[in-house]
């Protein structure tokens, strides 16, 4: 049986819907990972030990274990302790926290490399340390790591395929469903790959926009 791309239109609805879910979960998880990353970075650097040490453990769990396992834990495991999350929410939390930890690593390094004179200038006009971090240090640190955070977000997009295993009808699962009905794996996997590529391009476009916008303010 050769290749036959003419089967695609029949199932295009499922695939497009899958695309939308992939975009939705990626955007939501990206936002969570961005703001979560900032929050985690500040905790890792400045929180008192009682908060920082448990946080380390949490960080280790997210960095040292497979994302797939984390998704299972959040979706199937938490039910046992009474936390029954919809698959989409579980997926966003899993992906978002996982990448928040990676973003946090970047932001921590960036915070530590902001010129010392910035904190001094902020304190000199009367800002507290917390105010200085919020208004002066963190915004500069985040600007400095927009490119590597962008790379993390591309990785997040690709890893979003993993949430298919907890039943979110995103692009990969949609492709599998179309294959199940049509017995055309090559055609639909290629199609899904093409859509991932397009979403990827869209994300790179957004990243370039952001970089251009902050170019002067660095």
């Amino acid at each position: 049986m050769g290749l036959d791309f003419t089967v695609i239109p029949k199932y295009i609805d499922i695939i497009l819907l899958g695309c939308l879910w992939t975009i939705a979960i990626t955007v939501a998880a990206a936002l969570l990972s961005f703001f979560g990353g900032i929050f985690f970075a500040v905790i890792a650097l400045y929180a008192p030990a009682v908060i920082r040490l448990p946080f380390r453990l949490f960080e280790w769990i997210f960095m040292g274990t497979p994302l797939l396992l984390q998704l299972f834990l959040i979706y199937f495991g938490l039910v046992q302790i009474g936390v029954d999350l919809p698959a989409f929410v579980a997926g966003v939390i899993g992906l978002g926290l996982h990448f928040a930890v990676y973003n946090s690593e970047l932001i921590q390094t960036a915070i530590l490399s902001v010129d010392k004179g910035q904190m001094e200038a902020a304190r000199t006009v009367g800002l507290s340390r917390g105010q200085a971090l919020r208004k002066v240090i963190v915004p500069q640190a985040v600007r400095a790591v927009i490119p590597p955070i962008g790379n993390n977000m591309i990785a997040l997009l690709k890893d979003s395929a993993l949430v298919s295993v907890i039943g979110v009808s995103e692009l990969t699962l949609s492709a599998q469903r179309a294959i199940g009905a049509s017995y055309r794996p090559f055609e639909f996997y290629i199609l899904a790959a093409a859509f991932y590529y397009v979403i990827n391009l869209g994300m790179e476009w957004v990243q370039r926009k952001i970089e251009r916008r902050i170019a002067l303010s660095r």
Partner: protein, 256 residues
């Protein structure tokens, strides 16, 4: 009923970094409206003294007073933080490397702290930015980012940022040392203007001519002590101490 003497007082300031004693029992008085220049070789402790005044480098021993209030008084941590943040609002500081906030425009650099700490409305903040940036001749660049400004322009914005908190005292730590020679004058002009408005200032500088032209008193520091102090005519033209003379001679040669 303001006491015009002893507006700023540093009493027996001693500062060590580890085993290195950088300030050795320095005392200094600046009256309201006075301008004091601090000169001396690199490493003599000028910056440390200036930074002790607003507690950026806390003294090991000694006291700093501003207008009847002790800046570095001993308080429990939280109370001290509150106290020092309030004191610092009254003490403007200008750094050699400007330390402007690069992610903020000139306007935002000037208004950020007043908005945050004094609760200015956007309208009030804009009026303040206009006023302060106009004073330093930077009004046309009000919405420029630091990356779009020359060194001299950056330093003028940094001065406007300090002035926006309406400080009682301004500290300048080699404000023109990092500038290309042709940009020094525009910053000096701004400082002269402040002098005419009777701003109390302590100026660490390597520019003897400028110091002589604006200041009421000169302190010559070397190795953590004040070697000599007096009116500029005396210290620059007729120094008493050999160390002062040697420093000035060397400096004059260096300038050629």
């Amino acid at each position: 009923m303001t006491d015009h003497s002893n507006f700023v007082q540093v009493r027996h300031a001693q500062k060590s970094f580890g085993t290195l004693e950088v300030l050795k029992d320095i005392s200094l008085t600046v009256e309201r409206g006075q301008i004091v220049a601090i000169i001396g070789p690199s490493g003599s402790g000028k910056s440390t003294l200036l930074r002790a005044i607003n507690d950026l480098d806390p003294l090991t021993r000694g006291e700093v007073w501003l207008d009847g209030v002790q800046v570095n008084k001993s308080l429990p941590f939280r109370q001290y933080e509150k106290h020092i943040n309030e004191m610092r609002q009254k003490i403007g500081m200008v750094f050699q490397h400007f330390n402007l906030f690069p992610h903020m425009t000139a306007r935002e650099n000037v208004t950020m702290a007043p908005k945050m700490l004094k609760g200015l409305s956007n309208q009030q903040a804009d009026a303040l930015a206009n006023e302060q940036l106009d004073k330093v001749g930077m009004l046309e660049r009000i919405d420029y980012y630091p990356s779009q400004l020359s060194g001299g322009q950056k330093q003028r914005v940094a001065i406007a940022r300090a002035l926006a908190m309406e400080p009682k005292l301004m500290l300048f730590d080699e404000a023109t040392s990092a500038l290309d020679p042709e940009l020094v004058d525009e910053v000096n002009q701004v400082m002269k203007k402040l002098a005419e408005e009777h701003m109390t200032m302590i100026i660490v500088t390597h520019e003897m001519d400028f110091a002589a032209s604006v200041c009421d008193r000169v302190l010559f520091m070397d190795q953590g002590v004040v070697v000599e102090e007096g009116p500029p005519e005396v210290v620059f033209k007729n120094p008493e101490k050999d160390r002062t003379r040697a420093f000035l001679r060397k400096h004059l040669e260096g300038a050629k």
